[in-house]
Symmetry: C2
Subunit: 136 residues, 2 copies
DNA sequence: CTGTATCCCCTATGATACTG
DNA sequence: CAGTATCATAGGGGATACAG
């Protein structure tokens, strides 16, 4: 399927869950969702700026647990966005950096992150209006 | 903070969870994450093409439960992305459409969705390589 | 047709302790 | 320093029945 030509409805139907293996082939649910774990985009944002070591990332995002940092990094590495380089020092050090695929993906992702930063207020106002209208 | 000027590290520090109310003010965790419920982007994609009624969306995304359709639509409406118009017919009909804010956001979001479609294979190959290397 | 109301489950996430 | 292992929990999400 040509993603630039197909209509949204065609895409959804094509990737729809009812078709054989459809769900597993849906790039939105299968690819995009992995970028939106609770911590993924923050880590990608940091690494897009420059490579960093495990402990550095941990200090950078103070409220992430060690477990989630490990897991999120491994998931991002698994999907091909991160390169993990181990330096044989004592104690060991490990540096994470974006791959070409990761950089390519982050170009698109960052548009949305920037939009969020620039429109944070508008969204919060919408929320407040919705709630004060008693719709919630 | 000027989102276009600040470095990633400055942003993360500024929005960091340890500062007073920091987490609540982080646009990434606060805004972006809402766009990535299991169903949000699919629904936004459909509605970006043209408005649709409740039942239409349900048929369009066959594996969504009625409960999650209702809830996802309400959340998107609450954040200001969707307009909900009730027509006083019998039986009642309700039409959902993107607001200006929603269209604006979808412009950025769609870049990432398109990237995902175009690079789905690369990601899957990376995953397969990672797994077959026994790293998983 | 467009929802609500329940009940239930599973996965994502957190806290803590331990290791090469 | 850079992880694992284990246990515990909250909330996202599903199934089903009911309602205006």
């Amino acid at each position: 399927m040509d993603a630039t030509q197909a209509t949204a409805r065609q895409k959804i139907a094509y990737y729809g869950a009812t078709s054989e293996g459809g769900l597993a082939n849906c790039p939105i649910r299968n690819v995009v969702r992995n970028v939106f774990g609770k911590w993924s985009s923050l880590l990608l944002m940091a690494l897009a700026e420059r490579p960093a070591r495990f402990g550095e990332l941990r200090r950078l995002v103070p409220d992430i647990s060690q477990r989630m940092l490990t897991e999120t990094l491994r998931d991002l590495q698994r999907d091909g966005y991160l390169h993990r380089e181990v330096f044989d020092t004592t104690p060991p050090s490990v540096e994470y950096s974006l791959t070409d695929l990761g950089r390519s993906m982050y170009e698109s992702l960052s548009q949305l992150l920037l939009w969020a930063e620039n429109n944070h207020d508008a969204v919060r106002k919408a929320r407040a209006a919705f709630d004060s209208a008693g719709l919630r």
